[in-house]
Amino acid sequence: MAPYVFTHGREAALTVFIGFLFGFVLERAGFGNSRNLAAQFYLHDMRVLKVMFTAIVTAMLLLFLSSALGLLDFGAVSVPLTYLWPAILGGLLLGVGFIIGGYCPGTSLVSAATWKVDGFFYVAGVLAGLFVFGQTVPSYWNFFHTAGAWGRITIPELLGIDAGWVVLGVVLMAVCAFAFAEFAERLLAADPNAKSPTTQVRRFRRGAVALGGTLGLVVLLVGQPSVSRKMKWAQARLDQTLANRTVHIDAAELLSLMRNNQVRLALVDVRNERDFNVFHLLDAQNVSLDRLQRGWGSDLPGASVVVVMSNDERQADEAWRRLAVQLNPGNFLTKGEGNRVYILAGGLNRWLDLYRDRKTDAPGPDVPATGDELCRHQFTAALGDRGPIARPEANAIDRKFQSKVKVVSAKRAAGGGCG
């Protein structure tokens, strides 16, 4: 499942190639010429709006269509992180720089590459601006990093609706913008005898609008993959992994992770609230299967290891399926890609057998716990995470384990773009 991981050399070659096409198209669009770009702001040539919006709509439709069809894992795409206020201020500065200088950084490179002197000066200006920025931003570091820092968030996520609605909305907005652009150009055209569009052009436009609308509708009707759809896609791998018990870890291994301050660990306890309140591990979060089903966890920030647990294993296994497709790259479809979600073998019942009752002969992680998911241990009060059993000393009991957890650095979408 896309996107793919390349070796360093291949990624370099591919990126240069993509950049080549990028530069080529920008030049062909006329964006190596500042006059074509500045004309946008005087409304008599709306080339910039047309090219940019068409590109955004094209890429957006293909992107969300391939995500809906399960060809692309959108969770692994580097979506630029939202830092609202710096983006707003920076955007304003960029717009002003655009109308004064006539380029943006990408187009000025193309302009300089085709030997335009103003392009050279513009690139020099950009480099100088970036230099000054680097020297001054430490003086307002907090603003830069915290003002409206919403993280990786898309408009559909912000609104809490399926991406299809927003995709359709953007297509509609683009069509309106294009209609306005054509109207403004005809109204303000330098050439009063400018031809009105031929029938052929009209037919082509109508076709393009229909195609865009249809694709948008398909994106909406198919919908972005829900947790249950991802689980269905990955079912064979999920079943096999659970059967092989490669993700069930021993209580002692979990304890070693809890005692390891180099691991960013997230503990997910899926029992009911009563059991959770009576006893849970230190720093565990109580999350119901229902919430996992609705997609909770897609925003577990950068935790490198996630361990799910219940009283025995049945519920934890179910929870694991949901988190595995949400958190692992490629929706856990592709073999050989890192897993970072594990299950506490034997559940909390076995944990308590070991650390409360000191039954050091409790079975190892390869022995499943087939219990009925009831807590078999009696507590006289709701302890929560008070007391040493919520996180025993590392050497509380003498128990050997074979380490199964591989700590992978979080591969999911850190952020990207120009950064």
Binding site: P3, E11, I18, G19, F20, F22, G23, V25, L26, E27, R28, A29, G32, S34, K50, M52, T54, A55, T58, A59, M60, L62, L63, S66, S78, V79, P80, A87, I88, G90, G91, L92, L93, L94, G95, G97, F98, C104, P105, G106, L109, V110, A112, A113, T114, V117, Y122, A124, G125, V126, G129, F131, F133, V137, F144, I155, V166, V170, C418, G419
Partner: protein
């Protein structure tokens, strides 16, 4: 028979937009990353700073992660992309007969004035791109297609800024 080259001939903007969209989608689909330009330039600046004053780089909170210590600022996908953009722009311009040493400007201002404005505009753009963590390529185009919240706010502000100052600057362009 050789076809006459007309340097003023450009692609239809919608066709160019579709082509650009396909390149953008290809980049995201294959590598998980969009397009970018200012990030690469930022790393080039950091690289120069590192050769001139490495100790200063290590002490600057913004530049240090790019170039401090053992980091190699130029070994980054956005720098490779910048080299591709320059190459692609040159090849396209060369094939179309548009590679020529000239200054593009409005008819009412001198070349020197145009150079000055280009430098000032570039400076503002560079500063803004740093602040916004991206430019029209990385934020507006790439983030826009991914429907990122900040990218759309950014894009609206770029147009707002442009239109706000279009009238006072009309002599520079028309």
């Amino acid at each position: 028979m050789k076809k006459q080259r007309d340097p003023s001939r450009l692609w239809n903007p919608y066709a160019a937009g579709i082509a650009l969209g396909l390149v953008l989608f290809g980049s995201i689909f294959l590598t998980g990353n969009g397009l970018g330009a200012s990030g690469g330039l930022s790393r080039i600046v950091a690289g120069v700073e590192k050769t001139v004053a490495p100790a200063h780089v290590d002490r600057n909170a913004f530049v240090a992660p790019l170039a401090g210590g053992d980091n190699r600022p130029l070994d980054h996908r956005l720098v490779w992309m910048v080299s591709g953009v320059v190459l692609g722009g040159f090849v396209s311009g060369w094939l179309a007969g548009r590679v020529r040493l000239e200054t593009l400007k409005g008819p009412k201002i001198s070349s020197r004035m145009r150079w000055f404005l280009a430098f000032v505009g570039g400076g503002l753009m560079g500063y803004g791109a740093g602040l916004a963590r991206g430019c029209t390529s990385g934020q507006a185009l790439s983030g826009g297609a991914m429907l990122a919240v900040g990218s759309w706010a950014f894009m609206m502000m770029v147009f707002a800024g442009g239109y706000l100052f279009a009238y006072p600057l009309r002599k520079a362009w028309n």
